[in-house]
């Protein structure tokens, strides 16, 4: 049996999202009968791009069924991801209720896979980090990873064009362990906002683990940007796979 990274498949599939909308989603699956844990990958504000699809394949390469729905699919299924992102941005972003409905559809698709072990985790980057937290306080998932998600806490600046607001008050409803990965040089979220989230998790008695990296800012996982920080990213990936291994595979 080859290692998962030597035998995986990836393709676009269709799933049902909020309100029964048909969304395209990028699905990456390890070869073999499983059973495998599932990972819902949430793309960042720039959209359903190649970098996020590469991340999705990375989970399959590590033995997880992974799916990344196109949160901007309502702009048109055949629209280029960058054009869809620009139009979604212009429209004020994705409403939280719509996102939760789309995430629910993606989670159901993961659990319905014949190789699923029934467990599903969620991970998101940038705006997707907030979405990962929103998923974990709204839907039944087994583990969550928030990579530098802004506006879980903090105050949304005046004149902000996206329809988002802090969701820290929902922390008591968090229904799974949360891993948080943050750069100490980030401004959104900044250190104080990460402190605020940690305090809320502690007060609510939730299982969580935070890792905060010096000399790293926003998007330190992005390999094609100057924000990339290999030390933080390599350690971060290790933490992610340890986390999902603990909650999606063991037990």
């Amino acid at each position: 049996m080859p290692a998962p990274e030597e035998a995986l498949s990836a393709a676009n599939v269709m799933i049902s999202g909020h309100g029964g909308a048909q969304l395209n989603a990028y699905e990456a699956l390890p070869a073999g009968d499983g059973p495998f844990g599932g990972v819902l990958v949430i793309h960042h504000l720039p959209g359903w791009d190649s970098g996020t699809k590469e991340i999705t394949r990375r989970f399959a390469a590590h033995g997880y069924n992974a799916i990344c729905p196109n949160l901007y699919a309502r702009q048109g299924l055949d629209v280029d991801p960058d054009d869809a992102a620009a139009a979604a941005r212009e429209a004020g972003g994705v409403p939280d209720e719509q996102f939760v409905g789309d995430a629910k559809g993606a989670i159901e698709a993961l659990r319905a896979l014949p190789t699923s072990n029934g467990k599903v985790g969620v991970i998101g980057y940038c705006s997707g980090g907030r979405h990962a937290f929103l998923t974990a306080v709204s839907l039944p998932v087994d583990a969550a990873v928030d990579c530098y998600g802004a506006f879980v806490t903090g105050t949304v600046p005046e004149g902000f064009p996206l329809k988002v607001k802090p969701i820290i008050d929902r922390t008591p409803r968090l229904n799974c362990p949360l891993l948080g990965l943050f750069g100490n040089e980030d401004h959104f979220p900044n250190r104080e906002q990460v402190d605020e989230l940690e305090a809320a998790l502690k007060e609510a008695g939730k299982t969580y683990e935070f890792h905060r990296y010096d000399d790293a800012g926003h998007a330190f996982f992005s390999v094609d940007r100057t924000a990339y920080r290999p030390e933080a990213a390599v350690d971060g990936w290790q933490r992610i796979f340890d986390w999902f291994g603990r909650y999606l595979v063991e037990g």
């Binding site: 720039p46 280029d80 139009a87 802004a150």
Partner: protein
């Protein structure tokens, strides 16, 4: 960081995209993560005709420094044209 802030403006003119020339009616200007340019953040301009759908867009992603140079070039060119550009 994601600045998120978008500064839109109405425009009148045309732009050439993958489908050829088209009329454009709006320009969205924002400083945020690029889709393609190899920088953490860029000054992005979307020239678009929203009535024709998300694909009716010509996009540029410029480094902050080059965006400032572009602004100066535009102003210089308009000034040089004098009355004709008023």
């Amino acid at each position: 960081m994601c600045s998120y802030l978008t500064v839109p403006t109405e425009i009148a003119g045309s732009a050439k995209g993958p489908q050829g020339w088209m009329s454009v009616t709006s320009a969205s200007v924002y400083f945020d993560h690029p889709f393609h340019a190899p920088f953490d953040h860029t000054l992005n301009i979307d020239f678009a005709d929203p009535d024709r759908g998300p694909g009716a867009r010509v996009a540029v992603e410029l480094s902050a420094e080059s965006a400032r140079r572009l602004v100066a070039s535009i102003n210089d060119a308009l000034a040089a044209a004098g009355a004709a550009a008023r």
